[in-house]
Amino acid sequence: MAGAALKRLMAEYRQLTLNPPDGILAGPLTEENFFEWEAFITGPEGTPFEGGVFTTRLVFPHDYPLSPPKMRFICEMFHPNVYPDGRVCISILHAPGDDPMGYESSAERWSPVQSVEKILLSVVSMLAEPNDESGANVDASKMWRENREKFNEIAKQIVKKSLGLFN
């Protein structure tokens, strides 16, 4: 029998392939390594990110699902909850115990009940509703709060870039 983490990831991959949620496409980069996934997320409708297709990478720890995976945007992203280097900062991706932003209750943190699908859906809803309390990207948080029009404009640019349509 293979490792528990591998089996679980394979099960999740199967599940995601059989029942793909709307606007999300995810799978391992290669068949040999199930611990690195690529996921495509479409920007939710009615938000500044509408229409964009964003590429992300998920890296799973060897003790998944006991520890959460790490997720980062490979494409450009300007969002209050995404670090400038692309790392996604949402509470579901934080193991109970560490609290980089100092505001999360353990109830929202990672637990084995969560899954890739839930993470990706959380990211979709994060795109729709940024949480400017956490502020992984301070500039984006500030702009989102104070100058929404400009934020929307930048988001539109990013959408265009993500589609390879820039200018």
């Binding site: 029998m1 293979a2 490792g3 528990a4 983490a5 591998l6 089996k7 679980r8 394979m10 099960a11 999740e12 599940q15 068949e31 040999e32 390594n33 199930f34 611990f35 060897h62 003790d63 699902p65 006991l66 520890s67 949402i90 509470s91 579901i92 193991a95 109970p96 115990g97 209750s105 353990s106 109830a107 929202e108 637990s111 084995p112 009940v113 969560q114 899954s115 699908e117 839930k118 993470i119 990706l120 859906l121 959380s122 990211v123 979709v124 809803s125 994060m126």
Partner: protein, 675 residues
């Protein structure tokens, strides 16, 4: 490409140097002397040696590993930098012995270390790879044998050198290779365990435990080796600065290992003692996929007190991290609830941060009860009373009839809304009763005040003892939103007011009983349906002051003893329904926070949240409203009750009467049985 060019350049330079020497001296021996005497030539030769080492390394990598994966390469480079830095530090310690031979030895050490790291990564990769070719196994076995042999030989050499010529730099090498040897042994053990696991058809549950103990033992050996090394080095040479980092890492790893072992043992013993095995029926019903590994549960499953079922092995590995239910995050280290909690939990040790009476800071929290109902989201625990605000109304002296006008109103409105939860109500009343200076004759037993038939089959949460929670846990347990907390506090106030009202009622009954104990009892049978309904109205009647007339008549007909008890039961039953409010509300409060993390959460909790959230949300509005009306008068009740009584009393007693009638007509069979 660049590497090829550099290698070729180095080779060309070496050729040029040798050719030059031979061209000048024409004979072998003088040429060698010439080269060794000339510094530029030697520099070229050193570079060539370095290039050769790298080439050899690449070749060995090709033989033993094939293509390196990206993460392996990353690890290798990261660790190499540390190792190079430490080697340079070591050079400073042994600067007296500095010689080409010395550098060569350190290079060899570094070289071998790299292969140990790679081997470690490769064996760890076994667990992750879906397919392993026979080539992988051949390579792994060969590499491990090779590394083990080389390490052993080098330890032996270092030992002999040290024994013959005293302590020297060989001491460092001896210890370094000894540590590498333990690493090889660890890797071999892991490899064997992985192989056994791969060969077996079923998941090998105890593999994690064996791995843990392997790490513990080798961690211990490494710690001992490093300690010896430290002591000897300080005695012989000087403080070995270069060994600080690996030593610290080893110590930290060992400590973590120990705590892991302790946690694992505790988890195992807890699981064996505290939680029952899931029965086949439980596994059959509904979704029997273990949420941790997403595999079907056939055998070897455990059921937690919160009714969630998992594989024993999955649960154990999770419990090593955290002692909570993966689904609802209930703290599983709390002892399971006693079947029928009769004793109120000790109120003595309160949490360190006592709740301020009425001013509610936004971060004030009400910790969830461990016994969260099955759908229990983290915030959903029934509201408990660790930091009950000082009572708005001082306990009544027995026998003094003080009407509690607002209470019935709250009971009626809150009771009419939302599905009541018996368990929380029971807890509430139990927790609170002793604090109210109740007249002893009416210390009614819980089953009676909360007749179970009124509330359907709801699970009873366990007895709560918050004294063992620390501040962090309590803070973590509270919800995020201020609103939730405030509504909960309003609910608590409502319950508070109701309890006060119940006590006042009881006092009145005692008085009435005392007053009427002389005349003989005419109608002793309250067991008919008419009797119970009459009893119900009697219970409602005396709730106000104006019932001085109505009360005795109702009581007189129902008989003294039972009617007193019966109405006592009715009083808190209204109370029970309100007390249930907060728990439903808690569920709703938790709903958004879980939902807030995304639609993903909604997907999972849809089944669980939505049924409860509908009635629950209605409870929120209703009961918080009633909480307001109830709490305010409750606070001021002793000052201006006279003003409030008449109007509130009339309508409330009306509502109450109707409700009680409904209850009694619904449940008369059970009630009869009971009585």
């Amino acid at each position: 490409m660049r590497e090829v060019v550099l290698t070729a350049a180095s080779l060309a330079l070496t050729g040029a140097v040798v050719a030059n020497a031979y061209y000048q001296k024409h004979q072998f021996y003088p040429s060698v002397v010439y080269i060794t005497k000339s510094s530029p030539s030697m520099a070229v030769l050193y570079i060539q040696a370095f290039v050769l080492v790298i080439l050899l390394g690449k070749m060995m990598r090709k033989v033993f590993f094939g293509q390196l994966r990206a993460s392996e390469m990353e690890h290798l480079i990261e660790r190499s930098w540390y190792a190079v830095t430490e080697t340079c530090l070591a050079f400073t310690v042994f600067r007296d012995d500095f010689s080409p031979r010395f550098v060569a030895q350190f290079t060899l050490l570094l070289f071998l270390k790299c292969f140990h790291w790679l081997a470690e990564d490769r064996i760890d990769y076994m667990e992750r790879s879906p397919v392993l070719s026979w080539l992988f196994h051949v390579r792994a076995v060969l590499l491990l044998m090779f590394l083990g042999m080389v390490d052993a030989i080098l330890v032996h050499v270092a030992y002999n050198t040290t024994m013959q010529s005293g302590a020297s730099v060989q001491l460092v090498f001896g210890f370094e290779y000894a540590i590498l040897l333990t690493i090889v042994v660890t890797i071999q053990m892991k490899y064997i365990l992985h192989i056994i696991d791969l060969r077996s058809e079923n998941p090998w549950d105890n593999k994690a435990v064996y791995l843990l103990y392997t790490e513990l033992i080798t961690g211990f050996i490494k710690t001992v080796l490093y300690s010896c090394f430290m002591v000897i080095m300080i005695k012989v040479h000087t403080f070995p600065l270069f060994a600080i980092r690996p030593m610290y890492l080893t110590l930290r790893g060992f400590k973590k290992c120990i705590s892991d072992v302790i946690m694992s043992r505790r988890a195992i013993s807890n699981m064996n003692t505290l939680y029952p095995d899931a029965t086949p029926e439980e596994l059959q019903q509904g979704d029997n996929v273990c949420i941790i590994c997403r595999e079907e549960m056939m055998t070897g499953c455990k059921k937690l007190p919160c009714n969630h079922i998992f594989h024993t092995s999955c649960l154990r590995s999770w419990f090593q991290r955290q002692q909570t239910c993966p689904t609802c995050r209930m703290d599983v280290l709390r002892p399971p609830p006693p079947p029928q909690p009769q004793q109120p939990p000790p109120r003595g040790p309160q949490p360190p941060f006592g709740f301020p009476p009425m001013g509610i800071p936004p971060n004030m929290g009400i910790p969830p009860a461990p016994g969260v109902p099955p759908q229990g989201l983290p915030n959903a625990g029934p509201v408990m009373f660790p930091g009950w605000p000082p009572m708005g109304i001082p306990p009544m002296p027995p026998g003094q009839p003080l009407p509690m006008a607002p209470a019935p109103g709250a009971a009626a409105s809150a009771g009419a809304s939302g599905l009541p939860q018996q368990g929380s109500a029971q807890d509430a009343s139990q927790t609170q009763m002793p604090g109210f200076g109740m007249p002893p004759p009416f210390m009614f037993p819980p089953p009676f005040m909360m007749p179970p038939f009124m509330f359907g089959d709801l699970s009873t949460p366990p007895n709560v003892d918050f004294s063992s929670l620390n501040v962090e846990q309590l803070v973590a347990a509270e919800g995020q939103e201020r609103q939730n907390v405030e509504t909960r506090i309003n609910m608590l106030r409502t319950v508070h007011a109701l309890l006060d009202a119940a006590i006042v009622q009881l006092n009145q009954y005692t008085q009435m009983i005392n007053a009427h104990s002389q005349p003989p009892i005419n109608v002793p049978q309250p067991s008919t349906s008419a009797g119970t309904s009459g009893l119900g109205t009697a219970g409602a009647g005396p709730s106000g002051l104006g019932t001085a007339v109505a009360g005795p008549s109702g009581l007189g007909s129902a008989g003294v003893g039972p009617s007193g008890l019966g109405s006592a039961g009715a009083g808190p039953s209204g109370l029970g329904t309100t007390a249930a409010g907060p728990s439903g509300l808690g569920t709703v409060g938790a709903g958004p926070s879980e939902l807030g993390t995304g639609a993903a959460a909604a997907e999972e909790t849809k089944e669980e949240v939505s049924p409860t959230s509908q009635p629950g949300s209605s409870t929120v509005s209703d009961s918080s409203a009633s909480g307001d009306t109830a709490s305010n008068p409750a606070v001021s009740a002793d000052t201006d009750t006279s003003q409030m009584e008449p109007d509130l009393n009339d309508e409330n007693s009306e509502i109450r009467r109707r409700r009680l009638e409904r209850f009694s007509s619904q449940d008369s069979p059970e009630k009869d049985k009971k009585e």
